[in-house]
Amino acid sequence: MQKITIDPITRIEGHLKIEVEVDNGKVVDAKSSGEMFRGWEIILKGRNPVDAQMITQRICGVCPASHAQASTLNLDSALGVKPPENGRLIRNLMLGANYIQSHILHFYHLAALDYVDITAILNYKGKDPKLNRVKAWVKSEVDSGRTTAAAPFLPRYKGNYITDTELNIAAIADYLKALEMRSKAHEMLCIFGGKMPHEMGIMPGGATQKPTVDKIIAYASRLKELQTFIDNNYIPDVIEVAKVYKEYFSIGKGCGNFLSYGVFEEDIDGNNKLLPPGVYIDGKLKPFSADKIAEYVKNSRFSSGSGLHPSKGETVPQPEKPGSYSWIKAPRYDKKVVEVGPLARMVTAHLSGKNENVSKLIEGTLKIFNADINALFSVLGRHAARAFDCKVVADRCAEWVKQLDPSKPVHNKFEIPAEGKGMGLTEAPRGSLGHWITIKNKKIDRYQCVVPTTWNAGPTDDMGQKGPIEQALIGTPIKDPKNPIEAVRVVRSFDPCIACAVHMINPDGELISKFRIL
């Protein structure tokens, strides 16, 4: 038995530590721990409720648009206001732009270096000036002999990188192209949001940017470029990588249960969503009910009550709690472990039969690999689902942008009530995101977020069930314990965001006290 600690896990958002125990070349136990805390919910207490949609965006710089969406839906419900059509559409267009940005960033810039061999560029013989510049740089770097030559792309774990030169070079070219593409997706968001990361153009009651025709075409034109990239580069690249690493269709299965809150409002009341809510548990698709969410803390560093609904949740820290190993709580749906994220959205949308575009993509891809739906519950399944999610959202954005009406308002006025309660449920690129608010004396009395990575990276619960990432790690073959590349491939397939996952609030809003150096 050998214990491997990977701290930090890089190429994710935030501070994550993973410990795995390896026996006979396979992971037999796994622990996932969040290592950063800021106290967002404590800081929100006592502030103007409207500040929440700016402050909660700063939980995460990769998916602020999702926090903006969850927070404004939450405030809409607490303030009793709804956006006009333009407001709804602009919110979807901003959120959609960030889905595209986040998914492209994840595949190319966070995940790909686990598969693609950057040094293959030394064998490039073509005439592309950009690639030749990279080739010249890598050559001069490795010739320099510095230990940090070709940083940040080297050093890296030793492992089975792609050996086909042509595929490597195509992937490197797309890594570079993707840098430009994800930037353009941010530009799309900025056209309506004023700035990205951390958009300005969203408010309870709608949006703030009037959809003038120049804005509409500026968005639509960039989107067309991104759709071309998704169709001709992103999806084909995922499939090419999958062809080389077929074993990863059976590695990193995880819990096999999935949850989606549903996302992208198709009407003002939010009754219809582009990607529907749903729960897939023990092989069956069921309707989603927010009442069935509870957070467990037996193995988290909290002394407060376990198994509580987020609207009643409390969080009293106990750093030296015996047996605890994470600042992340363990949320469960109907006491079951569930995975959230693009795979959960695609599985629930496909099985619900409510989105034929999703079904076409899934069925077409499974055919290429002569596989059934179980192949999706894997490292490669997560990457493929993320690419499909990206395409479905981008294609729908192209329709929403045409529905904007420059002659109509974008915002409905709101007033802050003396007392109020709200809930905002949406999906961030990396999974289900919920915000809850209680307003007293026109100020925030209580603000609670349950974020995607809490679902995925949480620890073992009170019933003894391990979290989704932990379950996905168990059974993973590790060839060389000094280079646990297989383990980081599994973890990164979830696209974890730890800044989001770690929150604590004392229900009285009191300061957290008495920590010892651990």
Partner: protein
């Protein structure tokens, strides 16, 4: 204590780094069997080590990674050009290939072998309560290494320190009342270091790339009393705002999304906020905060997000506006407040 142009030109590779071949080989062999490309090993045996681009170590405390994401949005120069032609980004948690001990070794190696020869970039505030246990990265002898310790160790030996984003520069949201974790700005953790603050929530890519370029080409830029480059933060948003004419006329917007009128009465913090965003714009110049109909929230200021109890959307008291280089027609506004 500034950084001279000559010192940086030397770092840029016009001199040679005096790391012995034997030392480097030893480092490489200590990486636990990890992969170093064959040509590296080969060249190590053949010739002395040449300097490359300016080594940059980018670490994160209590951050959201938004400043990293923003920085890679740089358009001219694009980020690939920055990474290959300007800096050598030896450590960056979100981008680097390596993980775990292999990654941390880059930091500990720089600490011992590159004293005074790298730039440290810090993103995120630094928690200080309970000895900084709220933000850790890596372990040493079974003990967590805190962000505070990394900043102290790497900051002490850095040629210069860039605090990117308002969290690193001033504490930002983590330091907002009641500051549960004792979040502090970097310059207070390492008061002796040469620190340049590049605030903003997030920082603008041009400010980061521009400051690095300034340091490389002309030395440390002129800083204001908040250690911000005057070049980017010397003027008030209010004084450069495209809606300033409305303010001077006393014509006020009544709701978010009004395309006419000044946003002052909707809580705009333009009159107390320093940056060039009204001119520079965001994301390849497609839009900016006030242009999209949303009030400035004062994200480049040391008071963000509390603004002395005002929060993000309270109407600024006229006294406060007056205090800060007021140039408008105050009487008209006074009637409106």
């Amino acid at each position: 204590m500034g950084l001279t142009r000559r010192e940086f030109l030397e770092l840029m590779g016009r001199g040679t780094v005096t790391v012995g071949v034997a030392g480097v080989t030893a480092c490489a062999s200590k990486t636990g069997g990890s992969e170093w490309v064959a040509p590296v090993k080969k060249s190590l045996e053949e010739k002395a080590v040449k300097a490359g681009n300016l080594p940059v170590l980018w670490i994160q405390g209590q951050s959201c990674a938004g400043c990293s994401i923003s920085t890679i949005n740089t358009v001219y120069p694009e980020i690939a050009e920055v990474l290959t032609e300007t800096i050598s980004l030896e450590f960056h948690p979100n981008i680097m290939a390596s993980a775990g001990d292999l990654a941390l070794k880059i930091l500990t190696d720089a600490e011992t072998n590159k004293k005074g020869k790298y730039v440290l970039v810090v993103e995120g505030s630094i928690p200080t309560k309970e000895n900084g246990i709220y933000s850790t990265m890596g372990e040493s002898n079974g003990k967590h290494i805190t962000a505070k310790e990394w900043v102290e160790r790497l900051g002490a030996n850095a040629q210069a320190v860039l605090s990117v984003g308002t969290c690193a520069a001033f504490g930002g949201i983590p330091s907002g009342t009641p500051n549960p974790t004792g979040a502090m700005p970097v310059y207070k953790i390492i008061p002796k270091a040469t620190v340049i603050n590049i605030p903003g929530c997030p920082c603008h890519p041009d400010w980061v790339v521009g400051t690095i370029a300034h340091v490389l080409l002309f030395g440390v830029p002129e800083l204001d009393e908040e250690k911000r480059p005057k070049l980017f933060f010397g003027k008030l948003v209010h004084d450069q705002c495209e809606r300033r004419g409305y303010f001077d006329e006393g014509k006020m917007a009544k709701d978010y999304g009004d395309d006419e009128g000044c946003l002052f009465e909707l809580g705009c913090k333009g009159p107390i906020s320093h940056c060039d965003v009204p001119i520079r714009s965001w994301n390849n110049k497609v839009n900016w905060c006030i242009q999209c109909g949303s009030p400035c929230i004062g994200c480049t200021e040391p008071t963000f997000p509390d603004h002395e109890g005002e929060g993000l959307y309270s109407v600024l008291p006229v006294s406060k506006v007056k205090d800060i280089r007021w140039t408008g027609k105050i009487k008209k506004v006074k009637n409106l407040v």
